[in-house]
């Protein structure tokens, strides 16, 4: 697998690595205390002391954004992990076993797909109460259908190949075929799809938190910070701009890395005629 070296991919990878690192190490970085009320003037503009300004309670905004990055990545990451495991099992079963399993899984995924993510968010929040857990559930539910479709589709392709038929004739059980033969050949497409699911997950999480259905105060995620800053958009836009920029950067870098992985795994470079 050759990783692309073009500037955008490298930039995306560096950005993503930096953001993830900051998110992980956040609490230990000397960037200030996100909870210290009154560390500076309320709604203070960005300055050398406080690079992202201060919020309406006088808390330094930069450390809150750092917290937010961590929370956003953590929540979307956890949700995508659930999607990965569940989706892979269901998708392979649907594609390889066919019949009733396929009907159930594929139609179930279609039904789920029909719900807009935010509607799902409202439903889940109504049932489970708003919070991080329900955000994870919603993101997972929203990204699962497409992921299942991709895995199922690749499985269908792999299932007809010579080595699978040979294994069946040799008496391999369905489990063995799926684990040894189908899964390794599905991983490539799955990983690519998962990175896109991650970026979608981050958008959904932000939207939910913006609506107040996701992360609850005093915890912060980038979406809830946007919510926090939006009433003050006209007088103190630095909060919305700060959180918004970081969110955009995070989503874009995930997408760029996803593209890079896809290009590395499936180099379908168009051949320009010489």
């Amino acid at each position: 697998m050759r990783l692309p070296r073009d500037p955008l991919s490298v930039l995306g990878a560096i950005c993503l690595a930096a953001l993830v690192l900051i998110g992980l190490l956040g609490p230990w970085l000397p960037l200030g205390d996100p909870t210290a009320i009154g560390a500076g003037p309320r709604l203070g503009w960005p300055s050398l002391d406080h690079p992202m300004g201060l919020d309406e309670l006088g808390r330094a905004f930069l450390p809150r954004v750092v917290d937010g990055i961590g929370a956003t990545f953590l929540l979307s990451g956890a949700a995508v992990l659930i999607t990965a495991v569940l989706g892979t099992i269901l998708g392979m079963a649907a594609g390889y076993l066919g019949g009733l399993a396929d009907d159930l899984v594929a139609r179930g995924a279609d039904v789920l797909f029909a719900f807009p993510a935010l509607l799902l968010g409202l439903l889940v929040a109504a049932v489970m109460g708003p919070g991080a857990v329900s955000a994870v559930a919603v993101i997972s539910a929203a990204t699962l259908p497409l992921f299942i479709r991709v895995v199922r589709s690749v499985t269908l392709g792999v299932a007809g190949r010579g080595f699978v038929v040979t294994a069946e004739v040799a008496g391999a059980s369905a489990w063995r075929v799926m684990l040894v033969h189908i899964l390794p050949n599905v991983l490539g497409a799955a990983v690519v799809q998962l990175t896109y699911a991650l970026s979608i997950g981050m958008i959904i999480e932000s939207a939910l938190s913006f609506l107040g259905l996701g992360v609850q105060p005093p915890d912060a995620s980038l979406g809830s910070l946007l919510r926090q800053g939006s009433p003050y958009l006209t007088i103190a836009p630095h909060m919305v701009i700060g959180a918004g920029l970081v969110l955009s950067l995070a989503i874009m870098s995930v997408n760029l890395v996803g593209d890079a992985i896809r290009d590395a795994l499936e180099p379908l470079r168009g051949r320009p005629l010489t």
């Binding site: 051949r271 320009p272 005629l273 010489t274």
Partner: protein
């Protein structure tokens, strides 16, 4: 129509696909270029229209198609060549046809003008398709492999090209319709007065349809000559070895003789005979000196011992 002189071509990464191909195709002639994987035949076929991947470079010789120097021509001249003079038929008709467009529409586009449906139907009828009107309205995936390939052939000759290049046109088709598809190809190219270059690994197909056969090995033409004679009386040991290894000509109980060793992968000009390591007739000279292509008894052959090959009695027919 086609004049290749010591054409040498390398891909990005250095792999030398063609190592001095000398071949000519007269207008209206059908030439079968025969060879195994790695012989360079596909590269040569694609080079005729310069349909090559990025990074492929001509590293020697010249190629002239219909008077145009393919590797030196300006882009517009080259595009005009591909559009008006050349037609390509590839191995897999399903990838050559656009799955999102009905056949009729693709065929109309191939003609390059607003051809009336009657004309398109007539074209398909000439391609030996039954119910041309139904085929025009069909989607590509509704056609069988043989039908799809005939549509592709019809599209290729839609603009009356003067040179048709077919790369393994029947390899992915059933044995039963291969004949029909080859008939279509031969007939349509004859009607258009086009020269036809067929690239194939199928010796029997080549022998039956072509005026001349060129056998390629190691990026060069080992031998080229009239179809009826090349296999019956080979001038090059590789041709002889190939016919000895091909099933179909043996007697019951006779053993097929595979050619020992593997074809070479070249990265530089081969300064000896590329076939020498596997050749039953190799002498010291073959390992030291690159054989030049010479004309001998109506053949073009690149072998130091071609005279002895030709002097040997012709192989008797199998039955």
């Amino acid at each position: 129509m086609v004049e290749a002189q010591e054409l040498a071509l390398a891909y990005a990464g250095g792999a030398r696909a063609l190592d001095g191909v000398t071949l000519s195709v007269a207008p209206g002639e059908t030439v079968a270029v025969v060879g195994e994987s790695g012989s360079g035949k596909t590269t040569f076929g694609m080079a005729l229209g310069r349909v090559l991947p990025v990074g492929a470079e001509r590293v020697g010789g010249r190629l002239t198609v219909d008077g145009v120097e393919v590797f030196d021509a300006a882009p517009e001249r080259l595009r005009a060549l591909r559009r008006d003079t050349l037609g390509f038929v590839f191995q897999n008709p399903m990838t050559a046809l656009d799955p999102t467009m009905r056949v009729g529409r693709q065929l109309a586009r191939a003609t390059g003008r607003r051809a009336p449906e009657a004309e398109l139907a007539a074209l398909l009828a000439r391609a030996r398709l039954d119910e041309p009107e139904r085929v025009l309205r069909a989607w590509p995936h509704e056609l069988s492999g043989g039908m799809a390939q005939r549509v592709v052939i019809a599209m290729a000759i839609a603009r009356s090209p003067r040179l048709l290049v077919a790369d393994e046109p029947t390899a992915s088709l059933d044995a039963s319709i291969r004949d029909k598809v080859m008939d279509t190809l031969a007939a349509l190219s004859a009607e258009a007065g086009a020269a036809l270059v067929v690239l194939s690994h199928d010796l029997r197909l080549a022998a039956r349809r072509a005026d001349r056969i060129a056998v390629m090995y190691g990026g060069r033409v080992a031998e080229a000559g009239p179809a009826g004679e090349v296999f019956a009386r080979p001038a090059h040991p590789y041709t002889a070895a190939l016919t000895a290894a091909a099933a179909g000509n043996e007697r019951p109980g006779e053993r097929l003789e595979p050619i020992p060793g593997t074809p070479p992968a070249l990265f530089a000009r081969c300064e000896a005979c590329a076939f020498a390591p596997r050749c039953p007739m190799a002498i010291k000279r073959c390992h030291d000196e690159r054989p030049e292509t010479r004309r001998l008894a109506g053949r073009d052959v690149a072998c130091h011992r071609a005279e002895e090959m030709l002097a040997a009695p012709a192989r008797e027919a199998a039955r």
